[in-house]
């Protein structure tokens, strides 16, 4: 809210320059967003958080804060500091008032005035409204708005002659409707709170008045309303009908019910001065009076919480500046009475804040904690992902952070029932939570493919699925992608090499790459492996389907993988143990043969390992090719076989014998032709 410095001077003397005042307010109360020149005035733009909006986002309340911060006492219209100006008197009730439910409307106060002239407003009034973005309508309406800016209490004025036999505050009935002052037709529901007379709905409580009892130039008697509505109703109805007004905005934060009477007194004072007329009668429905809270303040507890002492006398002088009374003082403790306009101050800690901020946090020392020594550690999930990131870096992968959302049109990648959907997506581009982390990497592929001929990147992040029994399942994943300049499956094997190095680094020995048809449409059919460790699937590696790739304008072959980080972590074993270096030399023999192209390398390897050689240490594929000369459906395979014994140097007869056993086993299992 913007405050005119000149206007503020009506309530408190300002001895500081605007800059100095802004600095003091920022350090002790609220953030000052800026100062701006306005004719011969300066406007101070102050931002309020929800706790202080009700008491301070108005001129008198802000002046009260300035007074507390600067220590300069409040001056200003006597009418603002009066307690209960009307309710102490006996009034002749000339119009009926009924509030059907005090929970919906804790207080409703109305003042009837007669002999009023409705005209154009004087210049000073127009100008003050304009500073705060309000348009001048006529004297009566302008006064209600002025008092709202001054005190924070929204007011409404009805043409009393058009009100049919008094006021009822009630829920709307089904099929009821009203026309607002600005001509909008609103259908009402029983969830809405309205102000009505015996025949019409006159206003939407706390939001907007209606045409039925509008103030016009011929109006002479007015009914001024100052009420305290339940914030839930105001919020809900304002949202439902799509009308937000200065009044509804203020009610939303909750107001002090004791404010209604002061606001009516101030409005009446201004009406008499500007429009003439006189007070006829006052009516008030306020069954449960809100009383000030009394809170004990103990300076020792203050010191225990803030870390520095405060003397009782300096605390008491700050309470005085705030306008809070001390009702009791015993043995170093005081009980303060917090006025009802500070409804945010509920307990001891709130009082501590008032004392601490008014003293100033800049005075607070910086005191290292004295504490027990604690073992500080990282959660395993965090430590492990840091370690994976370090390894991926050495493998030449760039690290991405992407959005967790995928477009609505990507629901083809899996059963829609397993997708987690947002209730309020920002757009169809960010519609579901990703069920696979690697889906997010396609955006990176799309945007980078035009700048690079080959790509390597990865991300660690969450993937989300909906499970019928478990509900929403959130898993930490590692996903990566390789785009290669080479044709065919090169990127697959490049990535597989990376994964092998990763597994090796974590001491994960037996990872099986099993053919899979998972994530059809994303992965190319028949070019996906499910990665199994001890019978548990830990993820996938595969070539990306070319049709899916074409969505992103990428023509080069792309391979991608995704691993479950928690499963990878639990399979990992980073303990190292020294193995004695070999004492005797190894003998390496090569074997080359022709075999059907459909035989998997893993199967050949298994047969070689299981053939029965005790001296066989390692089987290493070093060549594979297909050629017309070999005949169709055949490929040439060459392995290095390494033999070694820990007890002696092997003879060529021993190795030759084992070679024959291995070749025999291969011949028995497959139709091979040794070359």
């Amino acid at each position: 809210m913007k405050f005119s410095i000149e206007w503020l001077k009506d309530y408190v003397a300002i001895n500081d320059t605007p800059e100095a005042l802004a600095e003091r307010i920022t350090l002790h109360s609220f953030e000052v967003e800026g100062l701006e020149k306005h004719d011969h005035d300066i406007l101070m733009d102050v931002s309020f958080l929800p706790n202080r909006f009700p008491d301070a986002a108005n001129y008198y309340g802000f002046a009260r804060e300035v007074s507390a911060v600067t220590g300069v006492p409040l001056i200003g219209p006597h009418s603002l500091s009066q307690q209960n100006p009307f309710s102490k008197k006996k009034w002749k009730q000339t119009w009926p008032l009924e509030v059907q439910n005090a929970d919906d409307c804790p207080r409703y106060s109305g003042l009837l005035m007669k002999g009023v002239r409705v005209e154009g407003s004087p210049t000073w009034l127009r100008e003050r409204l304009e500073i705060n973005g309000l348009r001048s309508i006529n004297t009566v309406v302008d006064i209600t708005n002025y008092v709202m800016l001054e005190l924070g209490q929204p007011l409404h004025a009805f043409d009393a002659a058009k009100v049919d036999n008094g006021i009822v505050v009630r829920r709307a009935r089904g099929r009821e409707h009203m026309t607002t002052l600005d001509g909008k037709d609103v259908d009402l529901s029983p969830e809405d709170l309205v102000i009505a007379d015996q025949s019409n709905v006159l206003a939407l409580a706390g939001i907007k008045g209606g045409k039925a009892a509008e103030i016009i130039s011929s109006t002479t008697s007015i009914l001024l309303e100052a009420a305290n509505f339940n914030a839930d109703f105001v919020l809900r109805t304002a949202r439902r009908v799509g009308i937000t007004t200065d009044a509804s905005y203020r009610f939303k934060y909750g107001l002090d019910p004791n404010l209604t009477e002061v606001a009516l007194a101030r409005a009446a004072e201004l009406v008499k001065k500007i429009c003439g007329g006189s007070i006829e009668t006052f009516a008030d429905a306020y069954p449960h009076k809100v009383l000030p809270r009394v809170i004990a303040f103990d300076p020792r507890r203050y010191e225990a919480l803030i870390g520095e002492p405060v003397s009782l006398s300096s605390a008491r002088s700050l309470f005085k500046r705030l306008g809070w009374g001390v009702v009791k003082a015993v043995k170093g403790l005081v009980w303060v009475e917090v006025p009802t306009f500070r409804r945010d101050v509920e307990r001891f800690e709130d009082v501590v804040e008032e004392v601490a901020r008014l003293r100033g946090y800049e005075e607070l020392g910086s005191i290292p904690p004295v504490t027990v020594l604690l073992h500080a550690a990282q959660d395993e999930s965090i430590a492990f992902s840091r370690s994976v990131k370090k390894r991926m870096l050495t493998f030449g992968f760039d690290e991405l952070y992407s959005y967790s959302f995928i477009p609505e049109s990507w629901n083809v990648v899996c059963d829609e029932k397993t997708l987690v959907q947002l209730e309020n997506p920002v757009s169809t581009e960010y519609f579901y939570l990703r069920p696979l982390l690697l889906l997010s990497l396609f955006r990176a592929l799309e945007s980078n493919a035009k700048f690079f001929s080959s790509l390597r990147f990865y991300e660690i992040g969450k993937a989300f699925t909906h499970d019928e029994e478990a509900g929403i399942v959130e898993r930490a994943k590692l996903a990566g992608m390789v785009m290669s300049e080479e044709k065919g499956g090169a990127s697959f094997y490049e990535l597989k090499g990376v994964l092998d190095a990763l597994f090796q680094g974590y001491g994960i020995a037996d990872v099986e790459y099993c053919p899979s048809d998972a994530w059809k449409g994303v992965f190319a059919q028949g070019q996906v492996a499910e990665l199994m460790v001890d019978g548990t699937s830990i993820g996938f590696l595969g070539m990306i389907d070319s049709k899916w790739l074409s969505r992103f304008g990428v023509a080069r072959p792309v391979a991608a993988f995704e691993l479950d980080l928690e499963l990878l972590c639990s399979a990992a074993n980073e303990e190292r143990e020294f193995v004695p270096l070999p004492k005797y030399p190894a003998v390496i023999r090569d074997v080359s043969f022709l075999i059907d192209t459909t035989v998997r390398i893993d199967d050949m390897r298994r047969v070689i390992n299981d053939a029965g050689s005790k001296m066989l240490q390692d089987v290493d594929l070093f060549d594979m090719f297909e050629d017309e000369k070999l005949g169709t459906g055949k490929k040439s395979i060459s392995f290095h076989l390494t033999f070694r014994s820990d007890g002696r140097t092997l003879t060529s007869e021993e190795v030759g014998h084992d070679m024959e056993t291995i070749i025999a086993a291969l011949q028995k299992q497959f139709a091979i032709e040794v070359r």
């Binding site: 904690p369 604690l374 967790s404 945007s447």
Partner: protein
């Protein structure tokens, strides 16, 4: 005669050394050792000398001839070596593919390391949260106007009977999870991804990273917080940073403060980064509200503590001079490869 041998010895080695090609070398060699070469004529003329002179000069001339031959040989090898493997040290090195951390990871890892050294553990938590952990337990009840401070992504439920779930709007719910399963005293930080339902621009993101801190015990004070946060920012920005606390409001702390630090770029003199104020607003903090301790079953009469939160992107933007928050999740490798 002797003079001549001395003269030869004086000049020939420098001449050999100054040759640059095999042809030049051959010319030098011919000048001394060729048929009409200087040294050759000396050797030829030996027969005409007296026996005494011959005894003195003969061996010296022979030795000089051998040394010249040897020097020519060596020099020739120099030429052969350079012409076969011409060595250009200015030739570019072989490209090694190295990966790059996202600057966000660098920032978060730095933060973790600093807090680990200050005795804070690093704790993880889920991104999908319950309404209770994200709001109610943090003293932000439904319909409280303060809820509007956090625009929330809600998740669809399969059945209306299920409790409402959301994408956490801050890492603060991990406070609740941690306190429900641990006893004080403790000190933790929580780095993690958070979400806000809002329009994105250079300073706002719908998905971003936060680092939450929490220290709880019987004697933890706001002055302690000031000391810890001063140490953190000073180490993160590798310079002495001053901290300024201002009143603020977050429902889960009381008192609540805004944390400003002196601008690390201009050292309080004022620059564009700090909009010429000398100060940067870097986070929120405060003393944990007793309602929060109530929600996790701690006794607020004996337990107290401070909590704080900072935005990882904001800190990375300041530390690395990154102008737009959207770059972190842009997936632009030209950006990531700078780090």
């Amino acid at each position: 005669m002797i003079m001549t041998i001395n003269e030869i010895e004086h000049s020939v080695f420098a001449e050999i050394h100054n040759t640059h090609t095999a042809k030049e070398l051959e010319e030098v060699r011919a000048r001394y050792l060729g048929r009409k070469g200087t040294l050759t004529s000396v050797l030829r003329g030996l027969a005409e000398l007296s026996l005494e002179d011959r005894r003195e000069i003969g061996p010296r001339a022979q030795a000089l001839r051998d040394r010249i031959e040897e020097a020519c040989e060596d020099r020739l090898q120099d030429f052969e070596a350079t012409s076969e493997t011409f060595f250009d040290v200015s030739f570019p090195g072989k490209k090694i593919t190295v990966g790059h951390h996202n600057p966000l990871s660098l920032l978060i890892q730095d933060t973790e390391d600093i807090f680990l050294s200050l005795g804070f553990s690093v704790v993880d938590g889920p991104e999908v949260e319950t309404e209770f952990n994200n709001f109610d337990a943090l003293n932000i009840p439904a319909n409280h106007p303060a809820r509007e401070m956090w625009d929330t992504f809600w998740l669809k439920r399969a059945h209306n009977t299920e409790p409402r779930k959301l994408l956490r709007t801050h890492t603060s719910p991990v406070q609740i999870r941690y306190m429900q399963t641990h006893e004080p005293p403790f000190r933790i930080i929580v780095p993690g991804t958070t979400y806000r339902y809002e329009a994105t621009d250079a300073r706002h993101e719908m998905q971003f990273s936060q680092i939450e801190g929490l220290a709880v015990g019987e004697t933890v004070t706001l002055a302690n917080f000031k000391s810890i946060i001063t140490a953190f920012f000073s180490r993160l920005f590798a310079q002495k940073v001053e901290i300024r606390l201002r009143p603020s409001y977050f429902p889960f702390v009381e008192p609540g403060v805004e944390v400003d630090a002196t601008c690390p770029r201009c050292h309080k003199r004022g620059c564009e980064l700090c909009t010429f104020t000398g100060w940067l607003e870097l986070g929120g903090a405060g003393m944990v509200h007793p309602h929060v301790f109530d929600a996790v079953g701690y006794n607020p009469n004996t337990i107290q503590g401070f909590a704080f939160g900072v935005g990882a992107e904001r800190l990375a933007m300041i530390k690395y001079g990154i102008p737009d928050i959207r770059l972190f999740r842009s997936s632009d490798l030209r950006f990531i490869q700078q780090f």
